[in-house]
């Protein structure tokens, strides 16, 4: 199995001048290709900090983080942009779709920055939206879509450049139970197709859909267990 994420002795300190907050304390973590992982913890446990580092949006840390064999702390800001673009598919709690921009255009954005040709990315965006069941709504604006539909657009967008990992930060936090299950089914399906999925959540029943649950507390991993999966 290929090791997609390799973290060794990861430390992160927020220095706000007067006080220093030790957000991550010597975290060690490996995630292999095809895994389906939930990261759980209370707010302030350090899981959001880990999420930002995993998402290559924060390289102010000490220790080692290798994503798909690339050492993140050694990359420039522009190289990180490129890594985020190609290796990571983000799904956020607040959907983070660009307003006044059609679902199709939103899905195209990562492909634009990857330099894909217009017709090609148009076709691919259409196919991805069809895959998440929004083939009929590709020209809808985000404000014309329900929460669940918005998150499905976001998933389509996350898949745009065939990333190495899908990183979902509280993907069901703004959704009702029915839509939450729908979204988790998508992740399960994607994982079944071979995608590496990491979901950050604080809901037990969401975490229960995954195959491995990592619990955080005070910037440390307190539990890392593989679960026998029940049906979601």
């Amino acid at each position: 199995m290929k090791e997609i994420i390799k973290i060794e002795n990861l430390n992160k300190v927020y220095d706000t001048g007067a006080i220093q907050v030790h957000a991550l304390r010597g975290v060690n973590l490996s995630v292999y290709e095809g895994e389906y992982v939930a990261i759980m913890g209370q707010s302030g446990s350090g899981k959001s900090t880990l999420m930002n580092i995993l998402g290559c949006m924060d390289r102010q840390f000490s220790g080692l983080y290798e994503l798909d064999g690339i050492s993140i702390s050694e990359q420039s800001e522009n190289q990180l942009s490129s890594i985020r673009n190609k290796k990571i598919g983000f799904v956020f709690q607040a959907f983070q779709l660009i307003p006044r921009t059609s679902a199709l255009k939103n899905v195209e954005i990562p492909m634009i920055y990857a330099g894909m040709k217009r017709e090609e990315r148009h076709e691919r965006a259409k196919r991805l939206l069809e895959k998440v069941g929004l083939g009929e709504r590709i020209y809808h604006m985000p404000n014309e879509l329900s929460g669940g539909q918005k998150q499905r657009v976001a998933i389509a967008r996350a898949l745009a450049n065939s990333p190495a990992i899908i990183l979902a930060d509280e993907p069901t936090g703004n959704l009702d139970t029915r839509a939450s299950h729908e979204i988790m089914e998508f992740f399960t399906e994607l994982n079944r197709e071979g995608a590496t999925v990491i979901v950050v959540t604080h809901e037990e029943d969401i975490a229960a859909c995954t195959k491995r649950i990592i619990r955080f507390q005070d910037g440390q991993i307190i539990q890392d267990e593989r679960v026998v999966k029940e049906e979601c």
Binding site: N52, M57, P110
Partner: protein, 399 residues
């Protein structure tokens, strides 16, 4: 390409705001173009007028050193003839440019006009567009024939018809009524603006100067037409030397000036005037630029989340920078183009109203639009850099 499409959609999303932002550029550019073009048009009108008069026109007079004007300062017909003879073909015309305001009479109708005298080779001095009959000729001048060329309006006024050739007119000259035969009628081709500058529509009729000037008349100044304008400086030198020798006066007291010199002076005066006023108008472009910067800063703040999303999805610093720069440049360039169209229309409408051909130089448009795009880029740079430097983690959390 993608950035242009993106900027266009951002501008469309905020139509009213974009338009108001553009307004600064529109007003700035249109006033610069209107003012500079007005200046260029005036220069064109002046140049055209001097071309009508003839750039070879020159005049000379002698300053008295003791406020007494006598034989050595004034000119007679004989001296004028001698000068012409001495200069040969280099001078095509020498005369006194005598003109007097007087009454014409025909039957019971009368009219007040300028009666202007023309010497030998009259068409060198004035070459009006004759619509009936003929222009005065050398024979008329040499034989002191009482012949006259009327302006079209005068002919209509006096005889009720444009074709007044063959009619007789009485002219009051030196308290005598003298009779003239109309040999031609001409049409005044001056522009409306030129007529206005000349102070109303006083009509001019032409007669042989030999009738207005007697053998013993002493005149203040000599008017001449230099055949080859490029030889103007050399001819001035020759004429001053000749007059100094023949009239026994100091060279310094002889004042000679030419139409080409005057035109150069007026032209450079108008040129610097329109440059100065244009520069003042250009200040409004800077104000327009500040407006763009202001709105771009608001836009960057409003779209912090969008910037965060884009960065998270792989936009590089440069991508965001270019996106906002293109947007600023497009707003100002669009404003520049609308302003150009407006400026040209203002100039064209003004030209139509005054009946003159207006001049809008391509350079002016190119410089104005380029300047507006530069203003857009310049003032868009700070907001765009601010956007590009946003930290995606913080920007994504922005509400």
């Amino acid at each position: 390409m993608e950035n242009i499409r993106l900027a266009a959609s951002a501008i469309r999303a905020n139509k009213m705001r974009s338009f108001l932002t553009m307004l600064g550029m529109i007003i700035g550019i249109s006033s610069v173009i209107a003012i500079v073009s007005l200046g260029d048009t005036m220069r064109g009108v002046v140049a055209n007028e001097y071309k009508n008069v003839g750039l070879g026109l020159a005049y000379v007079y002698i300053n008295s050193q003791n406020d007494y004007y006598g034989e050595s300062e004034l000119f007679t017909q004989d001296e004028a003839d001698r000068l012409k003879e001495a200069m040969g073909d280099s001078i095509s015309y020498v005369g006194f440019n005598q003109s007097t305001r007087t009454d014409l009479k025909a039957g019971r109708r009368s009219s007040t006009v300028y009666v202007t005298g023309l010497a030998e080779n009259p068409t060198a001095m004035k070459n009006p567009s004759i619509i009936y009959g003929r222009m005065l000729n050398d024979g008329d001048v040499q034989k002191k024939r009482h012949h006259m060329v009327l302006q079209k309006e005068t002919a209509v006024n006096m005889f009720g018809t444009e074709n007044a050739v063959g009619q007789t007119v009485e002219v009051k000259l030196n308290d005598n009524m003298e009779e003239f035969l109309v040999v031609g009628v001409y049409q005044n081709t001056d522009s409306a603006l030129m007529k206005a500058l000349q102070g109303g529509s006083m009509e001019t009729v032409y007669v042989p100067e030999s009738i207005l000037v007697s053998e013993d008349s002493m005149m203040w100044s000599l008017y001449m037409i230099i055949s080859d304008v490029s030889q103007m400086d050399m001819m001035k030198e020759r004429i001053i030397s000749f007059l100094s020798r023949t009239k026994h006066v100091e060279r310094e007291t002889i004042i000679m000036s030419s139409a080409s010199e005057e035109m150069g002076m007026i032209d450079s005066m108008l040129g610097s005037l329109s440059a100065v006023v244009g520069a003042i108008a250009a200040i409004s472009l800077v104000v327009g630029g500040i407006g763009i910067m202001n709105i771009m800063l608001v836009s960057v703040t409003e779209r912090t989340r969008e910037i965060g999303i884009r960065k998270a999805l792989g936009a590089k610093t440069r991508d965001i920078l270019i996106q906002f720069l293109v947007e600023a440049a497009m707003i100002s360039a669009a404003g520049g183009m609308i302003g150009t169209a407006l400026g040209i229309s203002v100039v064209a409408i003004g030209g139509l109203a005054f009946g003159i051909t207006t001049v809008v130089k391509l350079q002016v448009i190119v410089v104005a639009v380029a300047f507006s795009a530069m203003v857009g880029l310049g003032f868009g740079l700070y907001p765009a850099r601010k956007a590009a430097k946003a930290d995606p983690v913080i920007a994504l959390r922005y509400e």
